[in-house]
């Protein structure tokens, strides 16, 4: 692959944050290190650092979101930036022209960064290819493609509990087919060099050729969880139920729902993660979600620190030296 990586500037520094694919291990580790230094900011009496003072950040959400938008907003405010939230129903932007028009209108207001969420895969790449050169774009989730800040906050959470990625066995469970979180986590985990990565789900929810991205595929939850250190559960959207993909919530839970009995197949100190919002009784039993192995709420608070790190790095307000190469992880 010889294409230039639009995420990096000519010095190899992070310019846009669109996908984990194409970024190397050093860069991912720098994001995690910077995030660690921001993690304390929220506990201070004055929860602010002045790194992005005078900058304007636009949360451009073409798809509804509460949690992601809120943490991006908090992250921006803790960096002292001005934040504008714009929610655009997808019906108003069915055509590419109006998406471009929206961008140009916002550019004319002298914004410095767009955080974009969109229902179509590739939307953030498209926008990053169109914006003025001084603007950075952060992908807040595009279609089924990528949700890189979620993946990085999950890596941050894993690292808090299990510092050495090279010794970890990680399983991602559920609807891989429709999940941008799963794709980004797979790239992040393989780039960080975990010992073994597995995806677990029914054949209807495992996309063709996923093995090329690195994971081993399991269709049996008990077998897939055998001996793992980290279990990442994915949210199952209600619209997938009672379709040609899945027969019923009951059947799904009986096969792939994470119960204490099934979790017992993993290592005793395994942690359980979920990007939220969780469906209790569908993909995860309440006793697991609220149990001592669950780190689900920690993930949420880490989201702010990780997003602060990414925002500051793309705006060039942090020392971000070292070379980040194109190669990253090849699939």
């Amino acid at each position: 692959m010889t294409q230039t990586n639009i995420q990096l500037d000519k010095n190899g520094h992070l310019k846009h944050f669109l996908s984990i694919y194409g970024l190397d291990r050093d860069l991912l580790m720098r994001i995690l290190d910077h995030a660690r230094s921001f993690a304390g900011v929220g506990e201070r009496a004055v929860k602010k650092v002045p790194l992005l003072r005078g900058k304007t950040i636009v949360n451009l959400f073409f798809e509804p979101s509460t949690r992601t938008r809120t943490t991006f907003e908090l992250a921006a405010k803790r960096l002292s930036a001005d934040v504008l939230n714009i929610n655009i129903s997808s019906s108003a932007t069915k055509k590419g022209e109006s998406l471009l028009d929206t961008l140009q209108t916002l550019e004319a207001m002298h914004c410095d960064m767009f955080v974009v969420r969109h229902a179509k895969s590739g939307a953030a790449h498209y926008i990053a290819g169109k914006v003025a050169p001084h603007i950075s774009v952060i992908n807040g989730g595009d279609g089924r493609h990528s949700h890189p800040t979620q993946a990085m906050l999950d890596m941050f959470t894993i690292r808090q509990h299990k510092p050495d990625f090279s010794r970890l066995k990680v399983a991602i469970v559920g609807d891989i087919l429709h999940s941008r979180v799963a794709r980004s986590e797979i790239h992040a985990l393989t780039t960080l060099g975990v010992e073994e990565l597995r995806v677990i789900g029914p054949r209807t929810l495992i996309p063709t050729g996923i093995e090329a991205m690195g994971p081993r595929v399991f269709h049996n939850l008990e077998q897939g969880l055998e001996d793992v250190d980290v279990v990442i559960m994915l949210r199952l959207q209600h619209e997938r139920m009672r379709s040609a993909l899945l027969p019923s919530e009951h059947e799904y839970f009986s096969l792939y729902g994470l119960t204490p009995q099934k979790l017992a197949n993993a290592k005793p100190d395994a942690i359980v993660m979920h990007p939220g919002p969780i469906n209790r009784g569908i993909e995860i039993d309440s006793s697991v979600a609220d149990g001592k192995q669950s780190v689900i709420l920690q993930q949420v608070s880490h989201g702010i620190a990780v997003r602060m790190a990414v925002m500051a790095m793309t705006m060039g307000t942090l020392a971000d030296t070292g070379t980040a190469t194109e190669s990253g992880h090849e699939d």
Binding site: M1, Q3, I6, Y21, K94, K95, G96, E97, L99, L100, H118, K120, S121, G122, A123, H125, Y126, K130, D142, G143, R144, H145, S146, R180, R183, P207, T208, G209, I210, E211, A212, M213, D331
Partner: protein
Amino acid sequence: MKISILNGHLLDPASQLDKKQALHVADGEIAALGRAPAGFQPDLEIDAKDCIVCPGLIDLCTHLPEPGREHKGSMASETLAAVSGGVTSLCCQPDTLPILDNPAVAELVHQRARQVNRARVLPLAALTEGLAGKTLTDMNAMKTMGCIGVSNGNRDIANAEVLRRALEYAASCDMTVFLFCEDPDLKNNGVVHEGSLATRLGLPAIPASAEILSVSRALLLAEQTGARIHISRISCGDSVAMIKAAQTRGLPVTADVAISHLHLDDTAVDEFNALCHLAPPLRAESDRQALIAGLRDGSISAICSDHFPHDVDAKSAPFSQTEAGASTVEHLLALSLKLVTDKQLSSMQALAALSCQPAHIIGLDLGRLAPGLPADICIFNPREAVTIQAADMLSQGKNTPFEDWTINGKVNHTLVNGRPVYPA
């Protein structure tokens, strides 16, 4: 008008002629090969030194934007693009606006083509009303208006009963049915080939089985109904194998492949490259190899451009919201010759797939160099390089997936009906 084409090397796949010889044209027809008829006084002499003189190309699949989508191109712009690449006959799909499903629209297309008077425009009539796959059209009336076959555009017919009846009816009208095979349920709003790249990019995918299932259904119904079918723009290696097997059984089935699918595979859409958003989607590298092998062994008998000019906005959006198609007609010859340079095809094989073989599929006596035939001729220099640049294209659609490719094969002259149309 009398024209003598001198010093050129004639290549005619139909007669296997491969020889340095003159060619003479009079009153729109080829008058003689080699020595001029007694008393022949040309009005124009074309020096074809270093050039190949071959039949004008016949392109079995183009999407002309006029009538109805003039913001994407016009009859004038797209026929100019065609003749600049040596294409003298354009079969056009019925997916105009309004859809070419009645004699009035057929007449409108002919009228515009006559006004522009550049390439031969050979419309395909819609197989079903509005291409909706439900009701048959007045196809015989459109046949008398000069439609050379019937097609349902890029929309496969979901209902097998409708397809069966359409094939039976078209067979009664002695019309060839052009089929675009892509099961709409298996397509399921997909935009790229189902494989590891689609999985990585998170784009909705079209499995190869969408095409293979539809091809196998078409072959079965063709066998049952006795209809003559032409499978247009196949993209999968397994389709080639099935078509070959059907031909071996003696079924009158033919197939073509679009030029982009002979050069690109699904990895070309990486980084969400909307210029490579095509229908059918670019498939795996093994499929591409199988398509070339199919051309070589004759199971695929034509290369088409599948020319689909688009405006800038049509390609400017997140990938799945862009429109499918590439603007390719003016590079059809050069891109086909690249397969010769790459030692995939002989020049006779490549030119046959662009001239006499497509002519045979549409049942017209064109695409060969013989006295008495309409003088549709292409003169090109096989060693002169062309660098494809969107900005230089004559088509109004600048959506080429081949930007910056440098390939050999520059067209110097194109004649239609014995008249120089490029340069005009």
